[in-house]
């Protein structure tokens, strides 16, 4: 690997020690009457790998385009290394952006694509032809596309195109890297391969990176921190572990993985769900609540044990897991059990008890 072309990151971005590099405060943007972003504030540390996660229409791509300078926010501030980023035009921001469909220049070869950012520099700052060629060769090596410099984008596979787009963005030695659904257009196999590779590349390049995705697994797997957006507002910002273990609200809980929901009541430190009573989790709100739990974080017990009364309606084995469909409080839940957790003699018609291991409690929704 050409270590000389990109400095190795010497600080671990996951540690809170690095200074803030990107500060977004109160950014709003509307398209006509549709508010795409509504007062979003978040920060990224130097050399951090930040994921913007959310369903479509959550404003994550708009936020990325604001960072790139391709959209102007109606209100708010963006600072990068203390500089007012919004007053800098796109072309001077030096952000490397990888577009969802890569936006490679179709009439240029791979090498010309990568060299573009260098070739449009003002004459004084433009590197010589041989320097450009060297840089292109280094980048091709970095993205593992040696020998493909003469090809046209149309002659490449999806994964190769993505890497060309990445090399092109890195060629300008960006201050920040922006990736819009970097794996969106790839099939599942290539996606998994590229994921680790991209993370490696980020760590070696040592550039603050913001990437947009709607795939929670991808965000949790790759990012140092995850910002979860919905309807143009930031719902939660935290490390993958923080947001997964402690989702700020029901939306985040639901979005980060399969969720089961039941109504309950919290009183005097006790949580009651149907016929099951247990100690209420810390910081649980009082009164009527919604109780959430993951379908694979349950313990099955015989009828005389503790838990929610359930009746098994269907059982299906999926590899090492067993999917157990249960009727609890008149609602059907698809629960998962594995190994010793599988209740003995499980079959449709069996009555048992289901005990959520780590229930999360949120104030009851009005519409519920």
């Amino acid at each position: 690997m050409p270590e000389n072309s990109l400095p190795t990151a010497d600080t671990d971005p996951a540690k809170g020690a690095s200074p803030l590099s990107l500060e977004i405060s109160g950014v709003s943007k509307s398209f006509g009457r549709f508010p795409a972003l509504n007062g979003v504030s978040l920060q990224a540390r130097d050399k951090e790998f930040l994921a913007l996660l959310g369903p479509s229409g959550s404003g994550k791509t708009t936020l990325l385009r604001v960072l790139a300078g391709l959209e102007r926010p109606d209100a708010g501030e963006v600072r990068f290394d203390g500089e007012d980023f919004l007053s800098i035009p796109v072309r001077r921001r030096k952000v490397g952006m990888v577009f969802q469909h890569y936006a490679l220049f179709r009439h240029m070869t791979v090498a010309q694509n990568i060299a573009f950012g260098l070739s449009v520099r003002p004459r004084r700052e433009r590197p010589s032809k041989s320097d450009v060629a060297d840089r292109v060769a280094d980048l091709l090596k970095l993205v593992q596309l040696e020998g493909l410099g003469g090809r046209f984008p149309a002659q490449l596979s999806g994964g190769q195109r993505q890497r060309v787009a990445l090399a092109r963005a890195l060629a300008i030695e960006p201050r920040m890297l922006l990736l819009d659904e970097p794996f969106g257009a790839l099939d599942a196999q290539v996606r998994r391969e590229l994921r680790r590779w991209l993370r490696d590349l980020h760590d070696r390049a040592g550039v603050t990176t913001v990437f947009v995705t709607h795939d929670q697994e991808e965000a949790l797997d790759l990012a140092d921190r995850v910002a979860i957006l919905k309807d143009g507002t930031l719902r939660q910002l935290g490390t993958p572990n923080e947001v997964y273990e402690n989702p700020a609200d029901p939306f985040v809980y639901d979005f980060l993985g399969a969720a089961c929901r039941l109504p309950g009541v919290v009183e005097d430190g006790r949580l009651t769900v149907a016929d099951w009573e247990t100690k209420a989790p810390k910081d649980a709100p009082q009164g009527r609540v919604d109780v959430f739990f993951r379908p694979n974080e349950v313990m099955f017990a015989p009828l005389d044990g503790a838990g929610l009364a359930a009746e098994v309606t269907a059982v299906a084995a999926r590899g090492p897991d067993v999917r157990i469909e249960c009727l609890i409080e008149g609602k059907t839940f698809e629960l998962e059990a594995r190994g010793p957790g599988i209740p003995s003699g499980v079959a449709p018609g069996l009555s048992l008890r289901v005990k959520p291991l780590r229930p999360k409690v949120y104030p009851a929704r009005v519409d519920a």
Partner: protein
């Protein structure tokens, strides 16, 4: 043979065979084509050379014919580049930006297609003619637009305006603005982006549009006829020259001039087919017309 039978067996619906009818239909269309397209084309050249090559060359070398050819080339050489620029600008606006009144602009661009060319000529007469809105002012300042080259150019521009824009809009809409955005983030300015990214991506479609625009500009009769005034050797373009000679019963002259226009049409056709054949993918507009 086996491949053909298996293929037809796999798709029973499309293998309905009426060989007799198919041949009949092909023959009928061939006959119509021959009668309506090839025969007139043949007649044009036949009558042009009816009294020999010498006579043909004489009619083309006639001073009025030469001036008609020059005028046609002049008008096209002004109208076509202007429309190419207008067309690219309009297509750029429509394809790459969102703004109020976009569909109104689209409709406006199409207007010359749906309007009779005579009307396209007449509007200029109504504006700049002696009895027109600005007529007195123009006469006072000794500016001639109607019955002069300026009027011919204006009428031609109006009639041929949609060709370039119409060819480019669907293609540019299809291509989106991502490549331009990418160029901007890589540090390119507006001009660099246009000349190095946008223009190369539309070059073949642009050439195609310019070709059609040019063919129409040189061949335009209706609009030009209204503003020309038919002053021989001064304001007659080639199509008008054909009419003038024909009305004078100078058939060889009329058909000789017509043969030039027909040749222009044939050349355009060859170039157009060549473009369609080599760059079909980049002429997205073609597939949607």
């Amino acid at each position: 043979m086996t491949a053909a039978t298996t293929a037809s067996a796999a798709r029973p619906i499309s293998s309905v065979r009426l060989p007799g009818l198919a041949i009949l239909l092909v023959l009928a269309s061939a006959a119509v084509m021959a009668g309506l397209v090839l025969l007139p084309l043949f007649v044009v050249f036949h009558d042009a050379f009816a009294k020999g090559v010498g006579k043909y060359l004489d009619s083309i070398r006639d001073p009025d014919a030469i001036s008609a050819i020059k005028l046609t080339l002049l008008v096209a050489s002004i109208a076509v580049p202007l429309n190419a620029v207008f067309g690219v600008a309009a297509a750029w606006c429509i394809a790459k930006f969102e703004f109020r009144g976009k569909s109104a602009l689209l409709t406006l661009i199409d207007l010359p297609f749906s309007m009779s060319p005579v009307v396209s000529g007449l509007v200029w007469v109504l504006l700049f003619g002696a009895q027109g809105w600005f007529g007195t002012w123009l006469i006072d300042h000794d500016v001639k637009i109607i019955f002069a080259t300026t009027g011919l150019v204006l009428a031609t521009i109006l009639v041929t305006f949609p060709f370039v824009a119409r060819e480019l809009i669907p293609l540019m809409q299809d291509q989106g603005a991502d490549e331009e955005s990418a160029a901007l983030t890589l540090g390119a300015g507006g001009f660099t982006t246009f000349f190095r990214i946008t223009l190369p991506n539309i070059r073949w479609a642009l050439l195609y549009g310019v070709l059609l625009c040019n063919a129409r500009a040189m061949g335009e009769f209706g609009a030009v006829s209204v503003v020309s005034g038919h002053i021989r050797g001064l304001t007659t373009t080639l199509p008008l020259h054909v009419e003038v000679l024909y009305n004078d019963y100078d058939f060889v002259g009329a058909f000789a001039a017509a043969s030039l226009l027909a040749s222009l049409g044939l050349i355009t056709l060859v170039l157009k087919t060549g473009l369609e054949w080599r760059h079909a993918g980049e002429l997205a507009a073609n597939r949607r017309h």
